[in-house]
Symmetry: C2
């Protein structure tokens, strides 16, 4: 590579971009780990983007109308940290850069949302960022339509690498963005031809430009080391009618001995090679040293959007107080005050009408009253709208035809849906929920984990939550998924037993600001078990006594969801034989675990036999089958021991022995 | 739709295809559930495929050289069952067809591998079948190169729907197949423009033909209701140089009132409409009735490949006995007899050399001795070859450049890799293993579940199995994944503690014929703990006493993987204080659970305090922290309580308190 010729194109630009390159080299060398090549390769594109296009203000990283910049190729985190430090984000001190990848630093190996300000989303698992970006751009379209261009009117920029584009989720994102005609979305593909194992071509020879074009994107190209050409492409992309992809031809690890090699992807720490690279850049400065003139220039870039931001704030201040409050509330992901009364009224109605409905239908009944008072609630389904019951009266369909529509046809793209919802929630001002069959959490899993890790309050409406879905058979019957979801940190897994608990579960989910929720909902009908109205939200306790033992308490039945009715029927059988039996409904283990031990011991006192009932595998239930402390209770489990089968639901419950009779027999065998 | 005109094109074909359409209508009506529209729409394509192209023999469904036919759009299972019944597969009786979706029938809602013969793979979760098909086609290329065209020389056919093509996994499959230039792979896209929520265009406007072409496929089109045009397209596709995609323009639910609508996708059970559709087909016969002349014709189709199959058998019989035995062994997924001695020798070597290596390196050491004696072992990695340590000396790279190569560059496609491996294992004759970081089981999850459900002996080499990976941070650190994998039925999750256990784990994995395995392997070095050679495979017991207490046994430490060394160090601390401490290594819970209770009680006797140590969350551990029966032991857990962090591994272990000192302190607090 003739670096001199590159530098000569635009010497000032060259020095500015070298700030990113050298900070990256120094930080990776100090950490002795990380990824040098990507920031070194994309430094020119990033410099032009920040200098001339990205609308932001380093002094106000939370400005709601800022452009969003998403580094989908998250391993190149030093690109972000360099830019934040250079442009003057207050928390990104040089000390933090020097502590790259060290305990307690905000400069984690991959960008972690909530660590450094300016990180819009956690990336690293490849392909997530580009799918998040689609959600950001959808949120922007929705909010621009809702609040007007004076309030929301920005671009979403994303840098994606070859790894992002090989992951299947990228196709879901690309196709969804194309259908949604997201003209404010611009993806800059770091076309460097290198992955960890070698040249991209050893595993992929896809014509990426043709692939994007096939889904309705406008495709551009640029020499990723020519600032004028980059500027031209970025300018053109902003004017595109559809989502824009810019193939940025770059050299990974530009100027290093490892340039254009797989080695260049990783940590370049050899001191001599590092110095040689700096020499090639014409960089005489010490490690982590940025000359004052360059730092000043970059800080100017960081301040470039200040006027726009201040003008925005002036405009915002002129809005009515109620509108402002509504905007702030929505961006804070706070539920409206009316929610509690709305849910209470619905619960009262249910305790009186006692509907026998599937909890997925009960979920729709809850949404019918929630959606009118939660205007930022943006629903959708992965092509199972009628089955997931996610749509409600008059929501409208979100799309280029109607940007105020509030239900999204995500297509058969569970993973893309989950990642887009993460993007929407992270954007702020939108509260997303989306549905699929619970077994297909398998497809969405990588994005759902990021909901939990980032702490974004997305609601997953997961219907058909057990063998109760019947004939579709084992491929569609979740048996291990409750355990998998419960095992995931910072995720509320709620499996309501009836229409009342379903309403309560929605209230709990909407009360979260830093935790995603899964609602595990039945396909099949269940009776209303909560026949006495309580103002109190009992799901919010995690578990509670649904029915007390009559006479001496000899047994406690623990159950969730559709099996609570089975436990109640088993209780009838046992009580008829004089066996005092308590039924504990446990809709949310995570909350119950967080309640105080005294409450847990009141709900699950030592002494009686314990039998858990759940149409899923036992894994995890031992936590509740043994006493809180002291002597071990006799206990048993009625549920699944492996995969399901294809047959009508009632036949399956009988076949797998998940019946009131089986539960009663299990209790009696333990007494 | 002018059915008369369609019928007039080729009246004989029309009646033959009507057999599929009417059996589908009748079976779905009888079950009152299922999917009528897809088999009705693709009946013509399937008829031409089976009549003129598919090389198969209904009387020998296991013929190794048959063409493979994969119904990726698995909800259209009645297409398969109709074809199997019509062509005379022995187990597909009319009774089975009539019992569609009923308990115990082989005609499950979605095609379940192992139920009806002829089902090559379990489909239903969309996109899996097309990705399996890529694996089938890769296996065919490998085996053709290895055994010669006289032994293996066939096509892989796949029907995929719009749902398959919207799922991200399809992109991974398409791009991988394109790179691999799988000229024997032919995908017939059921281009009917309909999904459950409505027209495909509400969620997707991708030009699928352009998309496939962008990845190097040869693309064809046909009128999916014109037998001559279908035949032309299929003939052309077989001659293509790359993988072939045929866009088959069809009408879902052809001839039914619900034709070309989302309703047509589902169960069409209205008796009047059903009769009207049959009338339109000119079908005067009763429910499930196939006229004798048509049944005879179809059985002729089923017998069409008999001669070819018999010729193949003659050729096969002429092979040397040792070659035949090798072929049969490989297709039975049986390990070679030499394996046991090979592993024993390696173990002996390890106990003497006592290497301090990461278990991922130990895995490579095992593979170095396994691969030479297991010629069907086909490895690979999702672009992490050097990190997963999956490649061994002289394996060669599998690809169009070398079809005898035995290591695959799967690209950054964990999901596609897992599904392709399923296809390879299902094909037979190939034993696949593949690697990625353990946290990215999240991406591969849906295909891994199908490994378990189908019972195919794939080995997942999942390295970087805890916070021990260090600086890459929480996005890359699995904490809940051991629990998720352990929760999955029919999956062996093995987390070896050192080089010896790693060798044993490989032996256990390769001994499976109906169960997939996950090897959870460390990034960081661990000492050799098994310093005394045992011929016996101790991992094959699930758990065992690694170190006995000296003096009175007061505590039992339970640990897996890299934390066994921590438990051993904690034991040293405790023994130094006179606290007799046993250490139990538990590399595989599933096997331990299946051993007899007496053995479990010997390993985990009642009485001593129990403390588990694992750099993962506690979920699931309660099963082992309480006594097998009788009184509850005092117990504790040292491990993770949430997500990890980005820092050097040693710092993280200290930060999260997973240290010998913390374990010893926990024991003492319980005594």
């Amino acid at each position: 590579m003739d670096l001199t010729a590159l530098a000569a194109r635009n010497p000032e630009h060259w020095r500015r971009a070298a700030c990113i390159r050298t900070l990256t080299l120094d930080a990776v060398a100090a950490a002795n780990s990380g990824h040098s090549g990507m920031p070194m390769g994309m430094a020119d594109v990033a410099t032009v983007l920040f200098d001339k296009h990205l609308s932001f203000d380093a002094s106000a990283p939370d400005w709601p109308n800022r452009d969003r910049f998403i580094l989908s190729a998250g391993h190149g985190s030093m690109l972000l940290y360099s830019l934040f430090y250079l442009t003057g984000y207050a928390d990104m001190t040089l000390e933090q850069v020097k502590n790259f990848r060290q305990l307690g630093a905000i400069t984690a190996g991959h960008p972690e949302y909530g660590h450094a300000t300016g990180i819009e989303t956690t990336t690293g698992p490849l392909g997530q960022g580009i799918a998040n970006a689609v959600g950001f751009a959808m949120a922007e379209e929705f909010l621009r339509a809702k609040w007007g261009k004076k309030v929301i009117d920005h671009y979403t920029w994303c840098i994606a690498g070859d790894g992002c584009l090989m992951e299947g989720i990228s196709q879901e994102a690309i196709a969804l963005a194309g259908r949604q005609q997201l003209s404010r979305l611009i993806v800059m593909w770091d076309d460097n031809g290198i992955t960890i194992d070698g040249k991209v071509s050893i595993a992929d020879r896809t014509d990426q430009k043709a692939r994007f074009a096939a889904s309705g994107w406008d495709v551009f190209e640029c020499d990723g080391h020519d600032p004028a050409d980059i500027d031209r492409a970025l300018t053109a992309a902003k004017a595109s009618a559809g989502p824009a992809m810019i193939a940025c031809k770059t050299h990974i690890a530009l100027g290093h001995a490892a340039q254009d090699t797989a080695k260049g992807h990783g940590a370049l720490t050899d001191p001599k090679q590092l110095q040689a690279a700096k020499d090639g850049y014409g960089w005489p400065h010490g490690a982590f040293e940025i000359p004052a003139d360059l730092k000043a220039w970059w800080e100017g870039v960081g301040a470039r959007g200040r006027a726009a931001r201040e003008e925005w704030e002036t405009r915002f201040a002129l809005m009515s107080d109620s509108k402002k409050a509504e905007f702030v509330r929505a961006f804070a992901a706070e539920a409206p005050k009316k929610l509690a009364a709305t849910i209470r009224a619905l619960k009262k109605q249910h305790t009186e009408a006692r509907p026998k409905v599937a909890t997925r239908q009960a979920s729709q009944m809850a949404l019918e009253v929630i959606n009118p008072i939660l205007p930022e609630h943006l629903g959708g389904s992965a092509d199972l709208t009628g089955s997931n019951n996610t749509n409600t009266a008059g929501l409208g369909t979100f799309g280029p035809e109607d940007r105020k529509g509030r239900h999204v046809h995500y297509g058969i793209r569970e993973h893309g849906m989950a990642a887009a919802m993460n993007g929407m929630a992270l954007h702020g001002g939108v509260r997303p929920y989306g549905g699929t069959f619970m077994v297909f959490t398998d497809y969405a899993r990588a994005a759902m984990r990021l909901s939990s890790l980032m702490g974004v309050p997305v609601t997953y409406v997961m219907t058909h939550d057990s063998i109760g879905l019947g004939e579709d058979g084992p491929t569609h019957q979740p048996v291990e998924h409750l355990a998998m979801l419960r095992a995931t940190p910072n995720l509320l897994v709620m499996r309501p037993a009836d229409a009342v608990e379903t309403a309560e579960a929605w209230e709990v989910a909407l009360g979260q600001t830093r935790t995603p929720s899964v609602l595990a909902l039945s396909r099949q009908s269940v009776p209303t078990l909560r026949t006495t109205h309580t103002a109190k939200n009992l799901v919010a306790q995690g578990a509670y006594v649904l029915a007390e033992a009559e006479g001496k308490r000899q047994a406690i039945l623990l159950a969730t969801g559709s099996e609570v009715a089975i436990a109640m029927a088993a209780r009838d059988l046992l009580q008829a034989e004089g066996i005092g039996t308590r039924v504990v409904s446990m809709p949310c283990w995570e909350i119950f675990e967080e309640t105080d031990e005294a409450y847990r011991r009141r709900v699950l006192p030592a002494g009686p036999v314990r039998v858990a009932v759940e149409a899923a595998i036992r894994f995890g239930w031992d936590r509740w089958l043994y006493g809180e402390r002291g002597k071990r209770e006799k206990s048993g489990f009625v549920g699944m021991h492996g995969f399901g089968a294809s047959a009508p639901a009632e036949d399956l419950y009988a076949h797998f022995g998940i019946t009131p009779e089986a539960v009663a027999a299990k209790v009696k065998s333990l007494l």
